[in-house]
C-alpha cells in the first residue's frame, strides 16, 4: 500500500537533523525523520566495562570501516592521508565526539574579503548569533564567558575543572605569554535539563554512559519526538526521487527488514554530513538530473574540507589527568587569525588534551618506538603512563575542488548502495600551518617540562569534520544551496549539515553546523507561504 506523503522528510538524525526537526516541530506539520542507525543504549557504552579501552579498536572504533556495524556504510578513503570517522545512529556523530564547542569566528565568514582566498559566505556571523545561543541552551554548554579572542558566548553551566593537565598547560602558556581559555564544551558540569552532571568517566569520545556529554539523542530528539516528529530508525535512504516538474517527490529507502520502501514527501531535508550528503545526491541520478541531484554547478562532492590536525604531545614529570577526565579542557586562539609573516594564510585553533588511558598509552607508545620491548618496558611505561600532555591544532582547510567525494565504482554498503570514495590531499598552505603549529606546540610542551615529544601530523584517523561538499552561495554556478539552505536546482530540497560550509574555520564545527540548521529551519518557517517560489 502506498504511504501517505509527509510534509517534511528529514534524512539523518544526527547533529543537524535533530536541530532542524525540533525547530520545525512547532509548525505542527507532519515531519518524518529517517535514520539508518538505531537508538543508543548507554548501558552498553564502553565505560561500563573493564575492557573499555579495547573496544576503541573494534566495535567502538571511530572509523566506520573498522567498526563495520550494520548501521555503518563503508568509505573508500585509501586516497586520503586523513581517514573519515563518524557514527551512525540517532544522535549521529554527536554520540562519538569530543564535545569541544567553539564557534566559527565572525571573520571566518568573510575569508575572501579579508584574505583574498576561497569565498565569503552568503551570510554573516550576526545572522547565526541567535541560533548559536538557542543551540547552546538546547545542547547544554559549559564554559566561561569572556574569552577576549573568541566570539562572546553565554554557557549556561560553569567550565570544566582545570584538573592536573589544565594547570600544567596554563602555567606553560603563561610563561610564554600566549592566549588560553577554558574550552566551551557540551559536557554538563551540573545537572541540566534531565541530564546528570559529568563525573569524569574518562575519554568522552566513544559515548558517555552518564549522559553528561550532550548528544542529540538525549537533547533535541526527546523534545522533537514529544512535539510530534516521527523518527523511523534503521531506515537507510538510497535515493531522492523527483517528479515531472523537477521537484523532490520523496525517497526510496530500505526499512529495518531490508525491504525497499517509497516515502512521498512535500519537502525533503538532507542532514547526512559532508560525506553522506554528496553520496546521496550523486546516487539520486535521473534523466533530468544525470550528474546527480542538485548538481547543475558540478560542485556536489567537491571542495571537501577535513581540518588537518597537527598533534604533538609529550610527557611531564607530574601526573596528568590521563583517562580520568573529558579529553579536552583548554583552548587557545593565539594563532587563529591570518598573519602572513608566518608563511601561510588563515590560522588554527588549539585544543589541549588531558592524557590517555593505559592501553592506549601502551599501544601508541610502542608504535612510536618510545616504549621498548623487554625488561625496560615496565620502567618506561611507568614514566609515560599518566604523564601525557597533548597539543592539537585544528588547521583551517581551504576549499579545493580536487578534494572530493565521488561514488566508488565497486564498493557498496550492505544494501548494495554505492559507497563514497574520497580523494583528498593536504594543501601546501595547510602543511605550512601544521609545521607552524607543531613548532609552537613543541615550545609549549618544553615550557611545561615535557620530554619524549611525539608528533601525529596529520592525525590519520582525524577526519571528524566533514565539510564543504554542497556549499552555500548566491551564485547557482558556484554553489549547491542558496543563502538559506535550499538547493538552487530543486526548490523543495534543503541541506542543513556541514556540507554547506563555504570555508572551514579553524575550530570544531558542530556548534556552527547546528546553528546553521536552526537558522535554515527559521528561514523555512518564515517563508512557509511561498517556500517554493
Amino acid at each position: 500500500m502506498a504511504k501517505d506523503p509527509v510534509d517534511v522528510l528529514i534524512i539523518g538524525a544526527g547533529a543537524s537533523g535533530a536541530a532542524v526537526a525540533w525547530s520545525l516541530a512547532e509548525t505542527k506539520m507532519h515531519i518524518l525523520c529517517l535514520e539508518q542507525g538505531g537508538w543508543m543504549n548507554p548501558a552498553e557504552y564502553p565505560s561500563t566495562g573493564r575492557d573499555w579501552e579495547a573496544k576503541f579498536y573494534g566495535e567502538w572504533s571511530s572509523s566506520p570501516n573498522v567498526r563495520g556495524r550494520p548501521e555503518d556504510y563503508p568509505v573508500n578513503d585509501d586516497n586520503s592521508p586523513i581517514k573519515v570517522v563518524n557514527y551512525n545512529a540517532v544522535g549521529g556523530s554527536t554520540v562519538m565526539y569530543t564535545a569541544h564547542w567553539p564557534r566559527l569566528h565572525p571573520s571566518d565568514f568573510k575569508v575572501k574579503t579579508l584574505d583574498g582566498v576561497a569565498d565569503d559566505w552568503p551570510i554573516d556571523y550576526d545572522a547565526l548569533t541567535p541560533f548559536f545561543e538557542e543551540n547552546d541552551r538546547m545542547m547544554g554548554t559549559s564554559g566561561l564567558s569572556g574569552d577576549p579572542l573568541s566570539p562572546l558566548t553565554h554557557p549556561p553551566m560553569p567550565q570544566q575543572p582545570m584538573g592536573l593537565s589544565g594547570a600544567i598547560v596554563a602555567k606553560a602558556m603563561n610563561k610564554l605569554g600566549w592566549h588560553w581559555w577554558p574550552s566551551d564544551t557540551t559536557v554538563a558540569t551540573m545537572d541540566y535539563e534531565g541530564r546528570a552532571r559529568c563525573i569524569n568517566l574518562g575519554h568522552c569520545t566513544p559515548a558517555c554512559a552518564q549522559g553528561a556529554k550532550s548528544s542529540t539523542d538525549i537533547t533535541y530528539w526527546p523534545h522533537a519526538v514529544r512535539a510530534g516528529v516521527e523518527l523511523r530508525t534503521h531506515c537507510r535512504v538510497r535515493e531522492i526521487t523527483t517528479d515531472e516538474n523537477g521537484m523532490a517527490s520523496g525517497v526510496v529507502y530500505y526499512d529495518k527488514d531490508g525491504v525497499e520502501q517509497f516515502q512521498p514527501a512535500h519537502v525533503v531535508i538532507i542532514a547526512c554530513n559532508g560525506i553522506g550528503t554528496p553520496r546521496l545526491l550523486l546516487n539520486s541520478k535521473s534523466d533530468r538530473f544525470p550528474n546527480g541531484l542538485a548538481n547543475s554547478s558540478g560542485l556536489v562532492g567537491k571542495n571537501l574540507m577535513f581540518h588537518p590536525y597537527a598533534q604533538i604531545y609529550g610527557y611531564v614529570k607530574e601526573p596528568t589527568d590521563s583517562n580520568r577526565a573529558p579529553p579536552t579542557c583548554l583552548w587557545s586562539k593565539q594563532w587563529y587569525d591570518t598573519d602572513l609573516s608566518r608563511g601561510f594564510v588563515r590560522g588554527y585553533g588549539v585544543q589541549f588534551v588531558r592524557g590517555a588511558g593505559p592501553v592506549f598509552e601502551a599501544v601508541v607508545s610502542e608504535q612510536k618506538g618510545i616504549l621498548p620491548w623487554g625488561e625496560d618496558h615496565h620502567r618506561v611505561f611507568r614514566k609515560l603512563n599518566g604523564h601525557r600532555l597533548g597539543f592539537s591544532a585544528i588547521c583551517e582547510d581551504l576549499p579545493e575542488e580536487h578534494n572530493q567525494v565521488t561514488l566508488d565504482p565497486v564498493l557498496k554498503d550492505s544494501h548494495g548502495i554505492p559507497a563514497p570514495k574520497i580523494d583528498y590531499t593536504i594543501s601546501e598552505n595547510s602543511r605550512k600551518m601544521m609545521e607552524h603549529a607543531l613548532a609552537r606546540g613543541r615550545e609549549v610542551l618544553e615550557a611545561a617540562g615535557a620530554t619524549d615529544i611525539c608528533v601525529n601530523s596529520p592525525i590519520p584517523w582525524g577526519g571528524w569534520h566533514l565539510l564543504g561538499t554542497a556549499r552555500m552561495g548566491t551564485d547557482p554556478r558556484r554553489s549547491v544551496v542558496n543563502e538559506w539552505g535550499r538547493t538552487h536546482d530543486v526548490k523543495n530540497l534543503f541541506i542543513v549539515d556541514g556540507s554547506i560550509f563555504v570555508t572551514s574555520g579553524g575550530v570544531n564545527p558542530t556548534s556552527t553546523i547546528q546553528a546553521l540548521a536552526l537558522y535554515i529551519a527559521d528561514q523555512m518557517k518564515q517563508r512557509l507561504a511561498n517556500l517554493f517560489d
Binding site: 557504552y45 565505560s47 561500563t48 566495562g49 573493564r50 575492557d51 579501552e53 579495547a54 579498536y57 573494534g58 569566528h105 565572525p106 571573520s107 565568514f109 574579503t113 579579508l114 554573516d124 556571523y125 566561561l144 569572556g146 577576549p148 579572542l149 573568541s150 566570539p151 570544566q160 575543572p161 582545570m162 584538573g163 592536573l164 589544565g166 594547570a167 596554563a170 602555567k171 602558556m173 603563561n174 592566549h179 588560553w180 581559555w181 559529568c198 563525573i199 569524569n200 568517566l201 554512559a209 552518564q210 589527568d321 583517562n323 580520568r324 577526565a325 593505559p358 592501553v359 601502551a362 599501544v363 610502542e366 608504535q367 620491548w373 623487554g374 625488561e375 618496558h377 615496565h378 611507568r382
Partner: protein, 149 residues
C-alpha cells in the same frame, strides 16, 4: 569456533614466546609477563575480529624464525623480533596491540600501576578544580576579535 581453536598449537606457542619478549615478568614491579597463562587465555578468548591479522602475523613470525621461536637462541630470537617489529606491518601491529590491551587490563598489572580494578562507570573520577587565578594574565592582556566587514 573460538579463537583458541583457530590458532594452531605452534602458533599459540609462538604467540606466548613473542608476548614474553614484549613484556617479560618483573619481580621488581611484581607483575607477570604477557606470557602468563591467564593473560594468554584472555588474548585467545577475545581475539575476535583480530584473529585473521594475528594469524597472519604469526605466520610471518614463523617464516622469519624457521622453527619454533622458543627454540632459537637468544640472539637469533631477538633478531627475528626486531625484523618482525620493523617490517611486520599492520599484522604485527595488531598482534602487539592485542597483547598490550589484554596485559594492561589484568588485575595484577593494574594493581602494580596503582589503578583501580573497575570500569569507569558509575563511580567516575574526581578532578581538582584548579587555580583559576592563572587566567588573570590572559584577562589582563585582553585582545580583540578580528573585525569582519
Amino acid at each position: 569456533m573460538t579463537a583458541d581453536n583457530q590458532l594452531t598449537r605452534a602458533q599459540r606457542n609462538d604467540l606466548r614466546t613473542v608476548a614474553a619478549m614484549i613484556i617479560p615478568a618483573s619481580d621488581e614491579y611484581k607483575v607477570p609477563g604477557a606470557d602468563d597463562p591467564a593473560i594468554q587465555a584472555d588474548i585467545l578468548a577475545t581475539l575476535g575480529r583480530d584473529t585473521k591479522m594475528v594469524t597472519a602475523a604469526l605466520d610471518h613470525l614463523a617464516q622469519l624464525a624457521g622453527q619454533p621461536l622458543a627454540e632459537l637462541d637468544f640472539a637469533k630470537r631477538n633478531a627475528v623480533a626486531q625484523e618482525f617489529r620493523k617490517n611486520g606491518g599492520a599484522a604485527a601491529a595488531t598482534l602487539v596491540r592485542v597483547v598490550l590491551q589484554c596485559y594492561y587490563r589484568d588485575d595484577r598489572v593494574l594493581r602494580s600501576l596503582g589503578l583501580e580494578l573497575r570500569a569507569p562507570f558509575p563511580k567516575g573520577h574526581v578532578l581538582p578544580d584548579g587555580d583559576w587565578s592563572l587566567l588573570d594574565p590572559v584577562k589582563a592582556r585582553g585582545g580583540t576579535l578580528r573585525r569582519a566587514p
